[in-house]
């Protein structure tokens, strides 16, 4: 590796680069963590301290009662209990959406990027266009359809609903990744006598893997974070986290403490999942020379 070779007599420009990297890294860490830290403090501060002026940055006393409230409430009407149920719903919906949309979307993206067929451009534009229409306008007719088919407040119709706007997204992103893979691979595989599907499975998928994982994380978070459809289409059985969090607010009240608790707990699962899969993004490719 280049780096190892350079280490013993690190050049001045390399050292300068290192310094810049450290400064930038520290700024980045502060920028990312400071607001998160404040969210955590908000989740354990007493309301009185939270609205004091001047605000003291280090609270004199803290309470974990809000976390206890979320984990201990057993009554179905408690917002803590609802939040836990919503977390489960969100997880189930997001996992299915991610897996299904990745499989369905990646196959289509491959076809759009690498195969020639009539109407390719128009179809791609049509799919993208569906994604460009804002949900606020679609939700009223959609509600009428879902209601007449008895699909409201159920998990699997929500999965399908989410798929309908996440798949276009995945097609768009993944066809970009597939598009940038060098033609020579395909040709080499075909000369070796591989079928088209084998080429897809053994050549394209491995090369597109970092992109696919990044896209999967994106799909998971889009589903996890979706607010508007969930607000309209769910009430109890399929209620997701963003809606449950919004319900910590009353008619005139904003419960910053509980919202912060929900923010901490609600981001744990996506962060864990990302940390697990991120390894595969940054792990690098076994084969070099991917680009044309």
């Amino acid at each position: 590796m280049t780096e190892r070779r350079l280490k013993p007599h690190m050049s001045r420009s390399k050292r300068n680069q290192r310094i810049v990297e450290y400064i930038f890294g520290v700024i980045l860490a502060i920028g990312v963590l400071a607001p998160v830290l404040w969210m955590f403090l908000t989740s354990i501060m007493y309301p009185k301290d939270l609205t004091a002026k001047p605000l003291s940055l280090i609270p004199s006393s803290v309470t974990f009662s809000r976390y206890a409230e979320v984990f201990s409430s057993t009554s179905a009407s408690d917002s803590g209990y609802i939040f836990r149920a919503a977390m489960k719903n969100s997880l189930i919906i997001a996992v299915f959406v991610t897996l299904l949309s990745l499989v369905i979307g990646t196959l289509a993206a491959y076809a759009f990027a690498r195969l020639r067929f009539r109407g390719r451009g128009v179809l791609m534009l049509l799919i993208l266009f569906t994604y460009m229409l804002p949900p606020a306008a679609l939700v009223i007719p959609l509600y009428r359809i879902y209601n007449s088919l008895g699909l409201l407040d159920k998990k699997w119709p929500m999965v399908i609903l989410y798929l309908s706007f996440i798949i276009p997204f995945i097609i768009w992103v993944m066809q970009g990744f597939f598009g940038s893979i060098s033609k020579s691979y395909e040709e080499a595989a075909q000369i070796d006598g591989a079928t088209r599907f084998q080429t897809l499975l053994y050549i394209f998928f491995p090369i597109a893997r970092p992109g696919a994982i990044a896209t999967g994380i994106l799909a998971f978070l889009m589903s996890w974070d979706e607010f508007f459809y969930s607000l309209i289409f769910t009430t109890q059985n399929a209620k997701t986290i963003p809606v449950a969090i919004a319900e910590f607010n009353g008619k005139f009240t904003i419960d910053y403490g509980m919202i912060s608790v929900a923010g901490i707990l609600g981001s744990l699962i996506p962060v864990l999942i990302t940390l697990i899969f991120q390894k595969y993004i940054v792990m690098g490719m076994t084969a070099g020379g991917v680009k044309e």
């Binding site: 009185k48 509600y143 919004a246």
Partner: protein, 434 residues
């Protein structure tokens, strides 16, 4: 490609079929009653009802009331759903015509719009069941549109003035102001003596609460947004004077300039942190303000009627919430039975700890006074006589968003009260034409 074309055309066909349902959303206008027979024949009727979380009656209360109702009406089963206030409107709008819910709780500024749009049923004839003369007029009027009733008021709420008397005492003032002139004079003293930097905290954010506060102040100045026939009168001299007054208190630094980003809860927080001496807010503030755990001014502040002028003793805004029957309900009779049970004197007096009743006669009931709190009930007795409703016109919500913007422009000093209200008057007249 054939397959593609086939898929596409199948999708189109399905879409067109659904369109025939979706495209022509039928505007129901009749008070259909098809279900009386169903319940009479012994079949169980299921009602779906939509309520609100985190304000007014607790969920446990509503569940208990509902259980009482079902015990008394064995043929009717009621499913209750609780959503946040912000969810109510989109949920009602999307579901009302298909009858997803039979009974819905709504804000008092919605009945006119919902009635015109054919989303809720006319209940005027059914109101004969109730002793309407015992309901506070302000609350009752909010469900009225063009002379017809579209709901029963249920949650009762108005704005009051909250006043930090400890701060006033520090400045040697021993009376709570009863006119806006007195309030401003007191505020000047507090500011000059350095007791509080900005004596007044107000919710002047671009939100409905700005219009609520303006309703109170314009009412106190003798103004109103519409006349007796619901024709807009936004640029009346009284309204202009009221808005000028609001602007002046901001310009003079008496009203906190951050009020332009405040909604009700920010006003509450500013007040309970001891950074305001005066605030207008809803009933809920009284409990929060006196809660030692959350407030630094517990026991130092009082709830009182909103000040007036020489034109009006006081004026407040109605913030109640009525129950309504959706146009798509298959069981309007049972729905009415359920909601009139919830709003009945018996039920409201039984659960008065969380919400004050709509019935005048209950306010002399010792149990209600004890549960509601003597200070609140006393203030209410006065305040309820001066309730102003925001205009009960179908276009109110659209007008309100326009007003919020223009009022903020005035408060920011970007335009004058007269110019802004002249413009709004023209817009309102346009909207009134439909």
């Amino acid at each position: 490609m054939k397959k593609l074309a086939k898929t596409l055309s199948c999708g189109l066909l399905a879409a067109l079929m659904v369109l025939s349902i979706a495209g022509c959303g039928s505007k129901a206008s009749t008070t259909g009653s098809t279900s009386a027979a169903a319940s009479a024949s012994g079949e169980e009727v299921t009602l779906n009802a939509l309520f609100m979380k985190q304000a007014g009656y607790s969920e446990d209360d509503v569940n208990a009331m509902t259980a009482d109702f079902m015990a008394a009406n064995p043929g009717i089963k009621v499913n209750v759903t609780f959503v946040a206030y912000e969810e109510l409107e989109p949920k009602i709008l999307t579901s009302a015509q298909s009858g997803g819910y039979d009974v819905v709780l709504g804000d008092c500024i919605w009945p006119a719009q919902f009635a015109k749009a054919g989303l809720v049923l006319d209940v005027t004839d059914r109101m004969a069941d109730l002793d309407t003369s015992d309901i506070y007029e302000g609350a009752l009027d909010s469900t009225k549109y063009e002379g017809r009733y579209y709901g029963i008021p249920w949650l009762n709420d108005v704005k009051y003035m909250f006043c930090n008397t400890a701060m006033l005492a520090q400045a040697g003032i021993n009376t709570v102001p009863t006119t806006w002139d007195e309030l401003v004079a007191d505020a000047k003293i507090l500011k000059d003596q350095g007791i509080v930097e900005y004596p007044i905290a107000a919710c002047y954010a671009q939100a409905e609460c700005l219009i609520c506060d303006y309703t109170c102040i314009s009412g106190a100045f003798g103004g109103s947004f519409v006349d007796a026939d619901n024709n807009p009168t936004l640029n009346s001299p009284e309204n202009v004077a009221a808005l000028d007054f609001m602007y002046q208190t901001v310009a003079d630094g008496l009203t906190n300039p951050k009020s332009l980003e405040m909604i009700e809860d920010d006003v509450l927080s500013t007040f309970t942190a001891g950074n305001a001496a005066f605030a207008l807010n809803w009933t809920y503030m009284n409990a929060s303000m006196n809660d030692e755990a959350a407030s630094s001014v517990a026991g130092q502040a009082v709830i009182a009627p909103i000040p007036g002028t020489d034109k009006a003793v006081s004026a407040t805004v109605n913030g109640g919430m009525p129950l309504m029957i959706t146009a798509g309900s298959k069981h309007p009779d049972e729905a009415w039975a359920y909601m009139s049970f919830l709003a009945s004197k018996d039920t409201q007096s039984k659960y008065c700890a969380d919400a004050l009743p709509i019935w005048k006669s209950l306010y002399s009931d010792p149990a209600v006074i004890a549960a509601g709190g003597e200070d609140v009930v006393n203030a209410s007795n006065t305040q309820y006589q001066y309730i102003v409703n925001r205009p009960q016109v179908a276009y109110y919500n659209e007008l309100s968003t326009e007003m919020q913007t223009e009022l903020q422009n005035v408060l920011l000093g970007k335009t004058t009260a007269q110019a802004a209200l002249d413009g709004l008057q023209a817009q309102a007249e346009e909207l009134a034409k439909g």
